[in-house]
């Protein structure tokens, strides 16, 4: 990657244009409601724009450039056919308020996706309005509240969240007006059923579970947990961020979950786009079905373009290949874990699912998880998810996905081993990593204390 230092505003020169529009002599009115101040937009030619953004793109890492061992993010390959289909003018040209008689093809996609996701998850039906995973969580919790309100059970205002949960779980609960009760995990990383029991009561709306959890461990007590929560009158919410290892193996609906979301940009291969657009469809069991239509959480029909891509992926997988997806993801994670546990601290040694967590280097040379992560960038890999989950101080959370070959995993393992050697030989060098990227470590403190959030 080469360093390129311009902002589009710095290329601006008065009189240059990058647009091509029909001529007009019309002048807009002046005064009162009309703008009199300049817009401050850059004046650049079309070729300036193309070169500038191409140069910017070359300072970026993506799934197409290399491997992302990024825990809980499921950075799988994004098939190209999906892009072509999503860009077909017959789909991109549809106005969201067009009469139904003119959008039958688009509507069939929703029907087909609903059926496919129901088959994969064991839920009854899905709403496609949520635009991301956290948006799905929020929508799901709204449904949980609707369910209780419909029964006159207004006192259920608390939701239980395990200490290993994704940060979005408690945040979504708070936005939904629910109070959070944290349930601890045991030494083995699983939810402590004994600690859960005293938390259950008439004020509990439900529990949010990620299964497998953020340590990559299957919550094997889920049957008992489901019974306890249901017996107390609560509902079970399934955080689909970690659905990938269960794809083709286990259905959340069969485990007793009442509401769930899926991240189409994780499990169903749609590109992450540098932080979206994603899609977070929410599925429900029979019990919650009557409320599915209630929350209007976004403008029109959700992120249709993303739903299209995910549908194309499901059709490629079909009922045959879907059975291998989760298994191969799990295989890759366990392979990395077993190949590195002699140089990285493995707090929970059991078989994992799609991801697992190291707690820093085995040997303490003062080299931190951050150092390891940054050094990986020098070797052409993205960093794993670090310092999460919060259960371990030096957490390194690794998730390969089923689209990575044995050779890629071996190359990653070799580099991780090399970094462990470097940590012994030259810890200073690691503290200063990365050394080969377009920029070095940033001054984040100044960025936050004296924020510069726009170009002046």
């Amino acid at each position: 990657m080469k360093y390129y230092d311009k902002l589009i505003f710095e290329l601006s020169k008065p009189g240059r244009i990058g647009f091509s529009l029909p001529e007009t002599k019309t002048q807009l009115p002046k005064g009162n409601i009309w703008r009199e101040t300049p817009t401050g937009l850059p004046e650049v030619s079309e070729v300036d724009v193309v070169r500038h953004y191409t140069n910017l793109s070359q300072m970026n890492f993506g799934v197409d450039t290399g491997f992302y061992p990024l825990g809980s993010c499921t950075m799988k390959y994004n098939p190209k056919i999906n892009e072509e289909i999503a860009n077909m003018p017959a789909f991109t040209g549809l106005h969201p308020l067009q009469p139904e008689s003119t959008t039958r093809g688009a509507l069939e996609i929703y029907v087909g996706m609903d059926k496919a996701l129901a088959a994969i998850t064991g839920m009854k039906h899905f709403t496609f309005l949520p635009c991301a995973g956290a948006h799905g969580e929020l929508t799901g919790l709204m449904l949980m509240r609707e369910y209780h309100m419909s029964r006159g059970d207004a006192a259920r205002t608390k939701v239980i969240v395990p200490d290993s949960a994704h940060g979005t779980n408690p945040a979504s609960a708070a936005v939904c007006g629910l109070e959070i009760v944290v349930v601890k995990s045991r030494e083995n990383g699983l939810v402590d059923v004994e600690a859960l029991k005293p938390l259950l009561g008439p004020d509990i709306a439900g529990i949010m579970m990620t299964n497998p959890n953020t340590l990559g461990l299957f919550e094997r007590d889920i049957k008992e947990i489901a019974k306890l929560v249901h017996d107390c009158g609560g509902l079970l919410y399934y955080d689909g961020a970690n659905m990938n290892p269960l794809l083709g193996m286990v259905r959340p609906g069969d485990m007793g979950f009442d509401i769930m979301h899926l991240n189409l940009h994780k499990t169903f291969s749609t590109p992450h786009g540098g932080g979206g657009p994603g899609a977070g469809p929410v599925g429900v069991s029979d019990k919650v079905l009557p409320f599915l239509h209630i929350p209007r959480v976004s403008g029109f029909h959700g992120n249709f373009g993303i739903i299209l891509r995910a549908y194309a992926y499901i059709l490629m997988l079909g009922r045959e290949h879907v059975k291998m997806a989760g298994k191969l993801a799990t295989l890759g994670a366990n392979y990395i874990k077993e190949s590195l546990k002699d140089c990285y601290k493995l707090p929970i040694p059991t078989v994992c699912k799609h991801e697992f967590v190291f707690d820093g280097l085995l040997e303490d040379n003062g080299v931190t998880t951050l150092d390891v992560a940054k050094r990986l960038l020098d070797y052409g890999f993205h960093a794993p998810t670090i310092y999460f989950p919060l259960l371990f101080h030096q957490a390194i959370m690794i998730e390969p996905t089923e689209t990575e070959s044995l050779e890629t995993l071996d190359a990653f393992i070799a580099v991780m081993r090399k970094i462990a050697e470097e940590a012994k030989a030259d810890p200073e060098m690691l503290h200063g990593a990365p050394h080969c990227t377009p920029i070095g470590r940033p001054d984040e403190t100044t960025a936050a204390r004296q924020p510069i959030l726009k170009y002046d």
């Binding site: 300049p38 056919i81 991109t92 635009c131 940060g167 786009g273 009922r319 290949h321 510069i452 959030l453």
Partner: protein, 434 residues
């Protein structure tokens, strides 16, 4: 079932990996899952298709849609998409990147978000903007939450009834579960002056759902006197030519970036934006990019002020938003770079010209009455004197999506720079024939 193009593992690879792990089979990796949870049935999915079959399948669905010439706005505007944009946004390095947490290998994403934040600030006139929201309606709902969070012990908001219906509905949804009291009214200023004791915020449209450009003269002072915040919901494309939220004294501006060159795409993905005055900076939801330097003094960009966000603050975060609509923000940023000040002026002049031509020609047919006196830009509403169903069907038969009926019984039209004079004349002829 044989090999699959997205799964690179050969049988030999699988054997090697299982051996390293020390288990006998792939199924053994699921030994910790209670046996009755392992799905043993056949998944009720179609049989795997080849790439060509998938393409044919979607072409079949595409043929079931009717492509129409779109003369309706109502929150989704049919502007021309310059051909440069999809080429840039489909570059793998942007498209397949993760959220830019590892800034050393994400300067591309971080840089365009910084440019987007700058452009949103310049269009709205406000001090800071975030990296994006899901869409305009959710940005409005988050702005309402922000008003409540930024004012002490205040829990009510006044929402203009002249906002688009789906914006009002989304605000109501978020407010309902957060316990925020929402007052939807046609008479915003009167309501601010008289009613609502614990007023936290007021949200009004820059251009309302009837297409009328609103004057908010004196409104901000009135709202601020009550100790509340003013939010303006705007069409960012129009902000190039209409008075900015900052000029009206608004504290927060939100809206949908779709009008900045994003295809209609049946409603999404679009992108919400949010900008605010500096005093509210740390109350913003979502991601924010800031400028800093690296160890060697090079200018660079990072995600900053993360102490507001869910992955740090969990339930105390300003919002639960995590993934946003980053690539769509790039879409708009490239669009605004291409258009520049002159392009945006000209585009709006073309919209104005076409919309006023159609407006006057439709009135001249005698089939409509004018109901709104205010000035408009590209979208307008008229009161129909003819049979609306018959009108819509006739337009539809000729390939036009126009004359959508609003909940008040008016019909709405929207003209953009894409539309030719011939098309406008065709619409008028159809109207005359009703």
């Amino acid at each position: 079932m044989g090999a699959f193009s997205y799964f690179p593992q050969t049988e030999e690879d699988i054997r090697i990996m299982l051996e390293r792990i020390g288990v006998g089979s792939l199924d053994d990796l699921y030994a910790d899952v209670p046996a009755d949870f392992i799905y043993k049935g056949e998944y009720d999915l179609p049989s795997a298709m080849s790439e060509q079959q998938v393409r044919d399948f979607f072409e079949g669905l595409a043929a079931k849609n009717t492509r129409l010439k779109v003369f309706v706005g109502q929150g989704a505007y049919d502007h021309y998409v310059p051909s440069v944009i999809p080429y840039i946004t489909s570059r793998s390095e942007f498209l397949t990147a993760y959220t830019p947490y590892q800034c050393e290998i994400s300067q591309g994403t971080l840089r365009y978000i910084f440019e987007w934040q700058t452009m949103i600030c310049r269009l709205t006139g406000l001090d800071c903007a975030n990296a994006s929201m899901y869409d305009g309606p959710t940005a409005a709902a988050e702005a309402v939450r922000m008003c409540v969070a930024s004012t002490k012990k205040r829990n009510s908001v006044i929402v203009s009834a002249r906002l688009l219906p789906h914006v009002i509905e989304t605000i109501r949804t978020y407010a309902k579960y957060a316990g925020i009291n929402v007052v939807v009214t046609d008479k915003v200023a009167e309501e601010v002056a008289e009613g609502v004791l614990d007023l936290a915020g007021v949200i009004v449209p820059s251009i309302n759902r009837f297409g009328v450009i609103e004057s908010h003269l004196g409104l901000a002072d009135l709202v601020h006197e009550k100790g509340a915040l003013l939010v303006e919901y705007c069409d960012p494309s129009a902000l190039a030519v209409v008075k900015t939220p900052a000029e009206w004294g608004a504290d927060i501006a939100v809206g949908d970036g779709q009008s900045l060159g994003i295809p209609l795409c049946f409603g999404g993905p679009y992108v919400g934006f949010m900008a605010c005055k500096e005093a509210l900076m740390r109350k913003l939801p979502g991601r924010i990019v800031g400028q800093t330097t690296d160890a060697s003094g090079k200018r660079c960009y990072v995600l900053t002020l993360q102490a507001r966000e869910q992955h740090i603050r969990r339930e105390k975060a300003t919002s639960n938003i995590c993934s946003n609509e980053s690539l769509m923000a790039l879409w708009c940023t490239v669009y605004l770079s291409l258009m520049g000040p002159e392009g945006m002026r000209k585009l709006n002049a073309l919209c104005y010209e076409g919309a006023h031509y159609l407006h006057d020609a439709l009135l001249a047919t005698g089939q409509f009455e004018r109901v709104f006196d205010g000035e408009f830009l590209k979208e307008f509403c008229l009161k129909p004197k003819c049979n609306v169903q018959k009108l819509q069907q006739a337009l539809l038969d000729a390939g036009f999506f126009a004359g959508l009926q609003t909940e008040d019984g008016y019909v709405t039209f929207c003209v953009t720079e894409k539309h030719s004079r011939e098309e406008l004349d065709q619409i008028v002829e159809i109207v005359k024939s009703i």
